[in-house]
Amino acid sequence: MESVLQFFYANKEAIFIIALTIFLGLEVISNVPSVLHTPLMSGANAISGVIIIGGIILVGHADLQNLVEGSNLLNLILGIFALLFGTLNVIGGFVVTDRMLEMFKKKKK
């Protein structure tokens, strides 16, 4: 399909990076003791909240002067929700991971 090929060409650098990042992700995570699976999942989950940047961009460039025009208001509200959810994911995720890991530290003498 042409649009897919065009997309590939337009984003070729990103796609190279992605291919390498996938290997990096696999490499970093393999050989993790099962004890750490839960905190690791939780930490990775917090990082996936990076969508928050998208929320910031959306709300940041929303046209506050012409809210009535088109779907500007709806988009702003949805954007605020995206930002809210993203923050929940990021802050909640990092805090809960820290709480889990706090336990591990205490054990060490």
């Binding site: 990103a14 992605i18 990042t21 290997f23 992700g25 696999l26 970093v28 995570i29 393999s30 050989n31 993790v32 099962s34 004890v35 750490l36 699976h37 839960t38 905190p39 690791l40 999942m41 939780s42 930490g43 990775a44 989950n45 990082i47 996936s48 990076v50 969508i51 928050i52 940047i53 998208g54 929320g55 910031i56 961009i57 959306l58 940041g60 506050l64 988009n75 949805l78 954007g79 929700f81 995206a82 930002l83 959810f85 993203g86 923050t87 929940l88 994911n89 990021v90 802050i91 909640g92 995720g93 990092f94 805090v95 991971t97 820290d98 709480r99 890991l101 336990m103 054990k107 003498k109």
Partner: protein, 469 residues
């Protein structure tokens, strides 16, 4: 932004994104070793903070405009609000509810990705319809799927399984693919397209539900890890829309890490991912009819004597211990026994609790020393030399059917071989089946004694009896 002059701000912004991405990688690397894990989490958080602040100050839209003060206030209020709620929930929640909390946070991330994609689809400046739609679909599935996983772990939603679901799911998936292709290729007016996008959103949400619904509760950790990977991919798709390297890298990195973590978890249970997603788990009894022995009960006094005059005791904690919040009293009992010269160890199955590592966290909370926790592969050879194995609120992870009954749904799953110990005491509330709903022949074995009651009460009785000896 390509047509505009590049300012110093743009350069600093991109550089910040590069740093953030590196912080994510270093953070996750440190997270994968017990000694550095906590630092790793802080690194990743710092990376996120850097990307957020840099975006707020330096990001410019396609006309070169920066973020205005009014918008910035809205952003900060929303972040403060979400941040406080998130931090409070994360601090206050009980350790036993940790798995569903992770699932809930994953759901919010998926929802955020889906919302961003939904808004961006109607943005005429947005050239990348393909990634936008993928972000919408994957984000929605991650959201509704995680919410179902949350409900299951929380006990609000029961398993529904029928072979039919597999076919229905395939059909819905096909429908999703067709809709995406139509949206990409047809030249229908924008209004109809937007309508179809809402249909796509709805069907994606339904797919998330129907995808997770038939998967057994015991497999939820694997599913959460998989959905976590989805959320990362959805965030990366949104990153393409904004040509934002931090989002692309962070998202894909988490996507890949989540995928390998999912596979590692499957390995710990000796199952394939396909088997988890499609296969039936739970429901129905084992097909093989076996000679059932009789169930033999033990009194608190007898159990206390048995334990106190052993030389080696292995405690096998399960989710029952966690829900009863009995980890502290359990640790007290172990301490008493040790004071009386008994060697006590804890045998931790990789999937004990509701998530890998969950039990370690719970026992650590009760001040059980790290070196007392022994992993399955290390403890199994010691089992025949063990005088008493105490199973507290665990069931499937000690079910010998996993070793010798090919018809059992858990056949092949590695277990802790408590049945090889000289004596076994099983603490359980009743004769109910475990999470996988399979009969456990351990309970009828000659060397097994049952001690019925809630884990907390039973342990308290034991502690009193041991003290009285």
């Amino acid at each position: 932004m390509d047509t505009l002059n590049i300012t110093n701000g743009d350069i600093i912004l991109e550089f910040s994104y590069l740093l953030s991405a590196l912080f994510f990688v270093v953070g996750l690397k440190l997270l994968s070793s017990p000694d550095s894990a906590r630092r790793g989490n802080l690194w990743a958080a710092a990376g996120m903070l850097l990307a957020m602040i840099a975006t707020m100050i330096l990001h410019r839209d396609s006309n070169g405009g920066t973020i205005q003060a009014g918008n910035l206030i809205i952003i900060l209020v929303a972040i403060a609000f979400g941040g406080v709620i998130g931090a409070v929930i994360a601090r206050k929640i009980k350790m036993t509810a940790m798995p569903q909390l992770v699932s809930f946070f994953n759901a919010t991330g998926g929802a955020a990705s889906a919302l961003v994609a939904l808004i961006e689809f109607s943005n005429p400046d947005n050239q990348s319809a393909l990634v936008t739609l993928l972000g919408l679909v994957i984000g929605s599935i991650a959201f509704s799927g995680s919410m179902i996983a949350y409900g299951k772990l929380n006990g609000n939603i029961k398993d529904i399984f029928s072979k039919l679901m597999t076919y229905i799911n395939l059909l819905i998936l096909l429908g999703l693919v067709i809709m995406v292709v139509v949206l990409l290729t047809s030249d229908m007016p924008l209004e109809s397209k937007q309508l179809l996008v809402y249909v796509l959103l709805a069907v994606s949400l339904i797919y998330g539900v129907s995808f997770v619904m038939p998967i057994g509760g015991a497999d939820m950790p694997v599913v959460i890890s998989l959905l976590n990977s989805f959320t990362g991919i959805a965030a990366a798709m949104a990153g393409f829309i904004y040509h934002n390297q931090a989002m692309i890298l962070g998202g894909i990195f988490v996507g890949a890490a989540g995928m390998i973590l999912t596979i590692l978890m499957c390995k710990a249970m000796n199952r394939s991912l396909i088997n988890v997603v499609i296969g039936a788990f739970g429901g129905g009894g084992a097909a093989v009819d076996r000679e059932k022995g009789t169930v033999k009960e033990v009194s608190a006094t007898d159990a206390a004597v048995m334990l106190n005059y052993s030389s080696k005791v292995v405690i096998v904690p399960g989710y029952g211990l966690a829900v009863a919040q009995a980890q502290h009293i359990c640790s007290e009992m172990a301490q008493l026994l040790e004071d009386n010269g008994v060697e006590v160890k804890y045998a931790i199955h990789p999937v004990a609790g509701r998530m890998p590592g969950h039990m370690n966290v719970l026992l650590a909370e009760a001040d059980v020393p790290y070196d007392k926790l022994v992993e399955m592969d290390e403890i199994n050879p010691e089992m025949p030399k063990t005088d008493v194995a105490v199973v507290i609120g665990a069931n499937d992870v000690v079910n010998p059917a996993a070793l010798d009954d090919p018809s059992s749904p858990i056949y092949g799953m590695p277990i802790i071989k408590v049945h090889e110990a000289k004596n076994v005491i099983v603490m359980k509330r009743g004769m109910g089946k475990g999470y996988a709903a399979i009969e456990n022949y351990l309970f009828y074995a000659d060397n097994t004694r049952m001690f019925f009651g809630s884990a907390k009460d039973s342990l308290q009785k034991l502690v009193n009896e041991i003290k009285a000896l």
